[in-house]
């Protein structure tokens, strides 16, 4: 098909973010790239159903998510073993933040239920509005909000970060206190 180059460019411009989302869903770079490819094949095959002027990223994300979900049901076990896999796949680029902190964060993220992780990423990293995220996930805006909230709370829990003002002792101290046992 001859496609309007402007539309094609919109598609291409979405790819990096689409990949990041796919990796966060599937927890595996290779599968993520397959997923992105499959998404693009579908999208381009049905490009007529995209209305120019509407939100291209949201459209592509929706397709990718649906693909992932239908595949995911078949392979649930593999993905739910997120603790290992998701953390592991992404371990390879540690420079930016402290290595330990970063890996810790990834491991914690991997422990979230997938619907919460997905919501948090769409809103907190991909930069979608709650409304767009709700459309992508096929649920109510309120549902997205509450998933994002729960995801944040749980992450804070897992990472043992809290309001320092409220809790006084720093993380190391609290770890000692928590693990210190009785004697």
């Amino acid at each position: 098909m001859k496609l309007d180059p402007a539309i094609r460019d919109q598609v291409l411009a979405t790819v990096p973010s689409l990949r990041a989302f796919a990796i966060s869903l599937s927890g595996n770079v290779d599968r993520a790239d397959d997923l992105v490819q499959e998404t693009l094949l579908r999208a381009l095959a049905h490009i007529d159903s995209f209305q120019p002027g509407t939100n291209m990223p949201a459209w592509l994300f929706t397709i990718l998510r649906n693909l992932f979900r239908s595949e995911y049901r078949k392979r649930r076990r593999e993905v739910e073993d997120a603790d290992g896999r998701y953390a592991e796949t992404l371990k390879s680029h540690p420079e930016q933040t402290g290595r330990v902190e970063f890996n810790e964060f990834r491991a914690a993220l991997a422990k979230l239920p997938s619907d919460q992780r997905e919501a948090l990423i769409l809103v907190g990293a991909s930069g979608f509005s709650y409304e767009d995220a709700a459309a992508i996930c096929g649920c109510a805006v309120g549902t997205i909000k509450s998933r994002v909230n729960r995801a944040r709370t749980r992450l804070a829990d897992l990472l043992a970060i809290d309001n320092v003002d409220d809790f006084g002792p720093d993380r190391a101290t609290r770890a000692v206190l928590a693990g210190g046992g009785r004697s």
Binding site: M1, K2, L3, R8, V11, L12, V15, P16, S17, R19, A20, I23, S24, D33, V36, Q37, L40, L41, L44, A45, H46, I47, L90, H93, Q96, T97, E101, F102, F105, R106, L109, L120, I121, G124, A125, S126, S146, N149, R150, R152, T153, L155, A156, L159, I161, D162, N163, V164, D166
Partner: protein
């Protein structure tokens, strides 16, 4: 006075002090808000790490094979599907 779990199932006796009821309601409300009230600093840190992780991938740009694929599919004259 601590009804704890199920506030709704048992309406308080007629003369139970209003205070309890109000307290329960207030508590529910704070808890609901409490979900959000994580503290700005904590939220900021989570957001920062989340974006850091995500942007690592974003910054890799469009992998060549995907770029090729899209261009190939969109340049040809006959249908894609």
């Amino acid at each position: 006075m601590n009804t704890g779990k199920t506030v709704n199932l048992q309406p308080p006796p007629a003369n139970a002090d209003k205070a309890d009821e109000l307290e329960a309601m207030g508590k529910a409300a704070t808890q609901r808000k409490g979900e959000v009230r994580l503290g700005r600093e904590v939220q900021a840190r989570i957001g920062q790490q989340l974006r850091g992780m995500y942007d690592e991938v974003v910054n890799q740009g469009v992998p060549k094979h995907i770029d090729d694929l899209v261009r190939r599919l969109t340049d040809q004259d006959d249908g894609v599907a």
